[in-house]
C-alpha cells in the first residue's frame, strides 16, 4: 500500500480499526451481527436526526423567546409529554453524536475516504460540525446554568475573532438583561442548521447508489423505544436558571456534546482556535492523505467490449454508480457498459456481476479469478479434498486461522461480492467437498453491497448466478464479524457434518467454465 506523501494516516487508521474491532465484538456478542448497531451507525445517525426533528417541532411550540428558562422549565415540569419529549430530544442528540463518530471512524478505518468518496467524507464533516453547533445552540436555548456556561465560552471564543464590534461576553455580564435578540438569533441558528443539514445529507449520499438511510425497522424501533424508556424513567435534568450573578459549583453537562468544555474554559482562546483549526484541517485532508494510486489493486474497472452483452447488470450492482450503458462502437445491436474511472473505487463488485466475465478491475475479472485460481491450485488438482473457505480479506485474522485449523483450505479475496460464482463452481468441480464463502456482515462491507449481491447470486438467481449445475448442497455462505467466532466455527462444523452425509463429489476439473458461462449467456440473449 502506498505511503502518503503528505502525512501518514495508516497508523491512525490501524488504531481506529483496533478500537472498532473491540467495540464491534462487544456489540456482536450483545446483539448478534445481524442487528449489531455498530454496523448501522450512519443510518442510526439519520434516524436520530428524524427523532430530533419530530421532538423539536413539539418543543418549539412551547418555547418562549422572552422567557426562555421559564418556558423550558414548564416543558420539563410537564410529566405527560413535555418532560420526556425534551429528554428524548436530548438523548437523541447524544446518540446522534455517538453514531456519527462511530460511522466516521469506520469509514476512516476502512480507508473509504478517497476518490469519489471524498465528497461523502467532506460533507460528513460539515454535517457533524453543523450538528455540534446546532446542539450548542439547543443547550443555550434552555438557558439554565449549563446553557449559560456554553454561551459564555462561545462568546469568549467569538470575542477573540475580529468580528463583533461589541464583545459578546458583555451580554451575559449581568449589567442588563440578556436581550431577546440574542435568543432569537440563537433560535434561528438552531432551526436553520437542520435545514442546511438536510441539503448536506443529500450531498453526503449523492455519490452512492441505493443509499440506505434508515436502520432495519426492528433495530430502529428498538432504539427509539429504548430512548423513550430512558426519557420517561431518567428524564434529563435541567440546571438552575441562568443568572449573571450566580456562580454554580457544578453544571449538569452533556459530556457527549460538551466534553471539551472544561478544556476550552481553561485554555487561551488562540490555542482553542488553533487546535480546532488544526483538527479540522487534518480531517479535511484525510481523503488526500488516504488516496490510492489508480494502479495495481486500486486500478479502476475496465470493460471487455468483446464480452459485454449489454445485459445492464453491472450498472445495477455497482455501489458507486460508476457504470453506465452507452451505445456500442461496433455493429452489435446492444448497449455496452462503460466505467467512469473517476467514480470507480475498484471495489470489484462488477466482476461478480458479469455473467460472461467481461468487466472488473484489471486482474480481478471473473476470468482473471478463474485463471489465477487454476494456476494456484493446479499442483493440488488431485488432492483438493478439503472444504474450501473463500474468505474476505477484511475478516478478522483470527477467524481465518480458526478455519484453517479446522482443515479448511483458505482462499482470500478482496470482497466476496466480487467473487464470480464460477469460482465457486470451479472449486466444486475440482473435487472440493464443499465451499463456504465467508463474508463480512452486510452492513459492514467495505464495498457496501458485497454479501448482499453474493447471497442473491447464489440463492436468488440474480444475474451472474451460480449455475444450476452446481450442487447447492455443497455451497454455504457464512458471516465473519468480530465477536462471532464461535458462531462461525459452529456453522463450519455443521457444514462439514452435512457434507459428510453427501456422496463423494463428482470431479470435473477439465470443464471450461468460461465457455459454459458464455454459452449460457448467449443462449439467454437469444431467447
Amino acid at each position: 500500500m502506498r505511503k502518503s506523501s503528505l502525512f501518514r494516516m495508516r497508523p491512525l487508521a490501524r488504531g481506529a480499526t483496533r478500537a472498532l474491532t473491540v467495540l464491534d465484538a462487544a456489540a456482536t456478542r450483545l446483539y448478534g451481527w445481524r442487528w449489531n448497531p455498530m454496523h448501522q451507525a450512519g443510518t442510526v445517525a439519520v434516524a436520530m436526526l428524524l427523532v430530533l426533528l419530530a421532538t423539536g417541532l413539539y418543543l418549539i411550540l412551547f418555547y418562549r423567546l422572552g422567557t426562555p428558562a421559564a418556558s423550558v422549565a414548564r416543558i420539563a415540569a410537564d410529566p405527560w409529554l413535555g418532560s420526556w419529549m425534551r429528554s428524548l430530544h436530548r438523548y437523541a442528540s447524544d446518540l446522534f453524536v455517538i453514531a456519527a463518530v462511530l460511522h466516521a471512524l469506520r469509514i476512516f478505518a476502512q480507508g473509504r475516504t478517497w476518490g469519489p468518496r471524498a465528497v461523502a467524507w467532506l460533507s460528513g464533516l460539515g454535517l457533524f460540525g453543523a450538528a455540534l453547533v446546532c446542539a450548542w445552540t439547543g443547550f443555550v436555548m434552555a438557558w439554565d446554568s449549563f446553557g449559560e456556561r456554553l454561551a459564555l465560552d462561545g462568546a469568549r471564543l467569538l470575542d477573540a475573532l475580529p468580528v463583533f464590534s461589541e464583545p459578546l461576553s458583555r451580554i451575559f455580564a449581568g449589567d442588563g438583561p440578556v436581550p431577546s435578540a440574542f435568543f432569537f438569533v440563537n433560535l434561528f441558528v438552531h432551526i436553520a442548521l437542520p435545514l442546511v443539514m438536510g441539503a448536506g445529507l443529500w450531498l453526503h449520499v449523492s455519490h452512492v447508489a441505493r443509499p440506505t438511510l434508515l436502520p432495519p425497522k426492528p433495530l430502529l424501533w428498538s432504539i427509539i423505544g429504548a430512548l423513550t424508556a430512558a426519557s420517561v424513567l431518567l428524564p434529563a435534568p435541567l440546571g438552575e436558571p441562568a443568572s449573571g450573578f450566580a456562580l454554580p459549583h457544578a453544571t449538569p453537562t452533556d459530556l457527549f456534546i460538551a466534553w471539551w468544555l472544561p478544556l476550552s474554559e481553561t485554555t487561551p482562546t488562540a490555542v482553542v482556535w488553533g487546535t480546532t483549526l488544526a483538527v479540522a484541517v487534518v480531517a479535511v485532508l484525510v481523503p488526500l492523505a488516504m488516496r490510492q494510486p489508480r494502479e495495481g489493486a486500486f486500478a479502476p474497472s475496465v470493460v471487455d467490449s468483446r464480452l459485454c452483452t449489454g445485459c445492464n447488470q453491472c450498472p445495477q450492482d455497482c455501489p458507486w454508480s460508476a457504470i453506465t450503458m452507452v451505445p456500442r462502437d461496433d455493429d452489435r445491436p446492444t448497449l455496452m457498459a462503460r466505467v467512469d474511472p473517476a467514480r470507480c473505487v475498484s471495489c470489484g463488485i462488477c466482476a461478480g456481476s458479469c455473467a460472461p466475465m467481461g468487466v472488473g478491475p484489471p486482474g480481478r475479472s471473473g476470468r482473471d479469478q478463474l485463471a489465477t485460481t487454476r494456476a494456484t491450485y493446479e499442483f493440488i488438482d488431485a488432492e483438493l479434498t478439503s472444504i474450501v473457505a473463500i474468505n474476505c480479506q477484511q475478516a478478522p485474522a483470527g477467524h481465518s486461522a480458526a478455519l484453517r485449523a479446522r482443515g479448511a483450505l483458505l482462499h482470500a479475496v478482496p470482497c466476496v461480492g466480487g467473487v464470480h460464482t464460477s469460482l465457486i463452481e470451479f472449486f466444486v468441480k475440482s473435487g472440493a467437498p464443499g465451499v463456504i464463502v465467508v463474508g463480512c456482515p452486510p452492513r459492514d462491507c467495505a464495498a457496501r453491497e458485497g454479501p448482499k449481491w453474493l447471497h442473491e447470486r447464489v440463492y436468488s438467481d440474480r444475474e451472474a448466478e451460480l449455475q444450476p449445475r452446481v450442487d447447492r448442497r455443497r455451497v454455504h455462505l457464512a458471516t465473519s464479524a468480530p465477536g462471532n467466532l464461535d458462531e462461525l466455527i459452529a456453522e463450519f462444523d455443521a457444514f462439514a457434518v452435512h457434507l459428510a452425509t453427501l456422496d463423494l463429489p463428482r470431479r470435473d476439473p477439465d470443464s471450461a467454465i468460461e465457455v459454459e458461462c458464455e454459452s449460457a449467456v448467449a443462449e439467454r440473449a437469444w431467447q
Partner: protein, 193 residues
C-alpha cells in the same frame, strides 16, 4: 447514557466570590476645533456646511482595581475599532474570598488637555440670522446641540468607586458605569430584580 448526558461537571469554586467590572462607555474626544470661515463654507456643498471642524482622537483611560489596598489589576483601556474611535468596553472578573472587602476602582483619563480640548468645547453661539433654508433651516442650532450631546455622552475624565462591599460566596458583585448618573456603582442583583 443518561448519566453522561447530565454529568455534574465542576465549574466555580464553592467558597469564592467574584468582583466583576463591566461597562460600555464612549471615550472623550481630544480635539482641536476651529470655526470654518464663511468663504470655506461657501465652497462646500450645501449639505456639508458644518460650521465647526474638529480633528483629534479618542481619549484613553487607566483602569485600576484594588481590594483591601492590594492592586488586583491595572491596564490601559482604549476605544474599540482599528482607530480606537468606537465605544470602549470593560469586562474583567476577579476572584475574591467571600466576606467584606474594601474595593477601589479607578477609571481615569490618561491624556492631559494641552492645546487640544477634551470633550469638545462649548459651541459658538449660532448666528443671529440663519442663512440656511428649507431642510437645512436651523442647522447651526442642531450642530451646536449635537456637540453638546456628544460631550455629555462621553465618560467623565475620572471615575472612582471606593467602598466596602460584602461578597457572598458563589455570587458576583458587579461594578458598572451608570451613564445616567455618570458614576460607577456596585450591584449584587440584576437590574430587573
Amino acid at each position: 447514557m443518561a448519566r453522561a448526558s447530565a454529568a455534574p461537571l465542576p465549574y466555580h469554586d464553592r467558597d469564592s466570590a467574584r468582583l466583576r467590572l463591566s461597562w460600555r462607555a464612549v471615550p472623550e474626544r481630544i480635539e482641536v476645533c476651529r470655526e470654518v470661515s464663511a468663504a470655506e463654507l461657501a465652497e462646500r456643498g450645501e449639505h456639508m456646511r458644518q460650521r465647526v471642524d474638529c480633528d483629534g482622537r479618542s481619549a484613553t483611560y487607566v483602569l485600576r482595581v484594588e481590594a483591601d489596598g492590594r492592586i488586583l489589576h491595572e491596564s490601559v483601556v482604549r476605544g474599540s475599532g482599528l482607530r480606537h474611535d468606537r465605544p470602549l468596553y470593560v469586562l474583567r472578573d476577579f476572584v475574591l474570598a467571600g466576606g467584606e472587602h474594601r474595593v477601589r476602582v479607578t477609571f481615569a483619563r490618561r491624556e492631559r488637555p494641552e492645546g487640544a480640548t477634551p470633550a469638545a468645547p462649548p459651541p459658538p453661539p449660532p448666528p443671529a440670522t440663519d442663512a440656511d433654508t428649507g431642510v437645512f433651516a436651523g442647522r447651526a442650532r442642531r450642530e451646536a446641540d449635537e456637540r453638546v450631546r456628544r460631550a455629555r455622552a462621553a465618560v467623565p475624565a475620572l471615575l472612582v468607586l471606593d467602598t466596602s462591599l460584602t461578597f457572598t460566596q458563589a455570587r458576583v458583585t458587579l461594578v458598572t458605569f451608570d451613564a445616567g448618573r455618570r458614576q460607577l456603582l456596585a450591584r449584587q442583583t440584576s437590574p430587573s430584580q
